[in-house]
């Protein structure tokens, strides 16, 4: 009876969702079939529920869905351009950085945010970033290597605003 209607842009698509005042963003995303957003500790510790909010990594378990109204969200489902994996995803595969996979979506998204701010991070910066996502399979060696490799791939293809626009436009076209 007290439901709210929120509008978000998720992975480039506008959506209109009806949510209860007490709904957390994590639960709404999973209800809307964004299953790449994982439910872990639900107390902001493990980071498995990380998504990008206007490009910044946040833990969706600590945010009310109502607070996402009018914002831009990115989940792992929106990282690849059609059937073309993001260079970060390629790097995670190439370096064997995926084991059970539960923390992988969050790691890829947090890497995306890191590289946007800091295209050439030091290993210490990468470790600091990955500390926000718990991996309970092994450790962080392979993910650290993958992120560093992804940042070098990033460096090898200098950002050309024109190229980025074209890619974004192509992705938009594919969705329609």
């Amino acid at each position: 009876m007290n439901d709210l209607v929120i509008r978000v842009t998720i992975n480039g698509e506008p959506k209109r969702w009806t949510v209860a005042p007490g709904d957390l963003l994590l639960d709404v995303l999973r209800r809307e079939s964004y299953w790449g957003v994982k439910k872990g500790c639900e107390t902001g510790e493990c980071g498995a529920c990380a998504v990008l909010l206007d490009g910044e990594a946040i833990n969706s378990c600590l945010m009310f869905a109502a607070q996402a109204d009018g914002r831009k969200l990115t989940t792992i489902e929106g990282i690849a351009a059609r059937d073309q994996l993001d260079p970060i995803q390629e790097a995670f595969l190439d370096h064997g950085a995926v084991q059970c996979g539960y923390c992988t979506p969050a790691m890829v998204l947090c890497t995306k945010a890191l590289l946007a701010h800091s295209p050439h991070p030091s290993e210490a910066e990468v470790r600091e970033m990955l500390a926000g996502v718990f991996c309970r399979c092994t450790g962080y060696k392979k993910p650290v290597e993958a992120v560093l490799a992804a940042s070098q791939a990033h460096a090898a293809t200098p950002a050309r605003p024109g190229a980025a626009r074209t890619r974004a436009a192509r992705r938009k076209g594919a969705k329609r």
Binding site: N2, P21, L53, F64, Q67, A113, A131, G132
Partner: protein
């Protein structure tokens, strides 16, 4: 977890936020203001009936004002880390403390207002802001109140807010170093840097051109019900040469001023000893910084 919530408001002005909160309170039940949610959601209070969200208020800023600094209450830890004005303020001590307040995702959500209003004894911004003689501005019925931070904290999760809304943090102009040099330091002990503090500390000193201490601030966190100024230790430093002997005496004194408890993270004895160690490290770093720039 919050299925008992009947309302979630998203006002765009402080006046509307206060009005909505007052109206909900009259309708009955408990409510809270929310910004980043990193404490509120984890606390999972099932008695909450309404929430008033602050993230649309125009309170996300860091700016110079007069000789000092004004920080909007909903500025995130990540905002503080990156703000050029704060990276230069007090040897970057506030930006550094914000950079240790949880994982990157938490720092993109958690706000300075929430960090102070939640009033955890271990809050990372408490000691550096106490060392800077900061105040908080509280909006409520009638005029805004300005409360010095050392009178804002009243106990574990207890503050002087009294139903008001914390809207701004004010850092006054730094003490004049007149021919000498001022230096600052933030220290934190946790399992990892981004974990909750077992003990945290901040210090600031102003030395004259002969190396004598004119002014000192020492603040400690997680060693008492509230973040604490170690006033006796500060007094010990003032008027004498700022050297290793003075630092050792002040650190010992600060440890005696701590009133730590034992909990799952550390024993009271360990916290007291670490208070001494962190104050010593903070003051030693201050000494090194004054030498480096001479």
């Amino acid at each position: 977890m919050f299925d008992q919530l009947r309302a979630f408001h998203r006002p765009t002005s402080v006046a509307t936020a206060l009005r909505l909160f007052a109206a909900e309170r009259r309708a009955g039940g408990r409510g809270r203001f929310i910004a980043g949610g990193t404490d509120l959601v984890v606390q999972g209070d099932r008695s909450l009936r309404y929430i008033v969200d602050l993230t649309r208020l125009p309170l996300r800023y860091v700016k110079r004002r007069g000789g000092g600094w004004a920080i909007g209450a909903t500025s995130t830890m990540a905002d503080l880390e990156r703000a050029p004005a704060l990276r230069r303020l007090a040897d970057g001590m506030v930006a550094e403390a914000a950079g240790t307040a949880g994982s990157p995702q938490i720092r993109n959500m958690a706000t300075i207002g929430g960090n102070l209003a939640n009033a955890s004894p271990a809050c990372d911004l408490g000691p550096p802001l106490l060392a800077l003689d900061a105040s908080v501005v509280i909006a409520g019925k009638g005029a805004r109140r300005t409360v010095p931070l050392d009178r804002f904290f009243r106990g574990v999760h207890r503050t002087a807010l009294n139903g008001g809304l914390l809207v701004e943090i004010v850092v006054p102009a730094l003490p004049k170093a007149a021919g000498g040099r001022a230096a600052w330091s933030f220290q934190k002990l946790g399992r990892l840097q981004s974990d909750i503090a077992v003990v945290n500390a901040a210090a600031g000193v102003v030395l004259d051109k002969h190396g004598r201490c004119n002014w000192a601030r020492i603040a400690l966190g997680a060693v008492a019900p509230v973040p604490l100024r170690a006033r006796r230790a500060e007094a010990l430093l003032v008027g004498r040469a700022f050297d290793a002997a003075a630092i050792a005496a002040a650190a010992e004194c600060a440890a005696q001023e701590a009133r730590p408890v034992s909990d799952v993270r550390a024993s009271a004895e360990y916290r007291r000893e670490m208070s001494r160690v962190l104050v010593s490290r903070a003051l030693t770093e201050c000494l090194e910084r004054t030498r480096r720039t001479r």
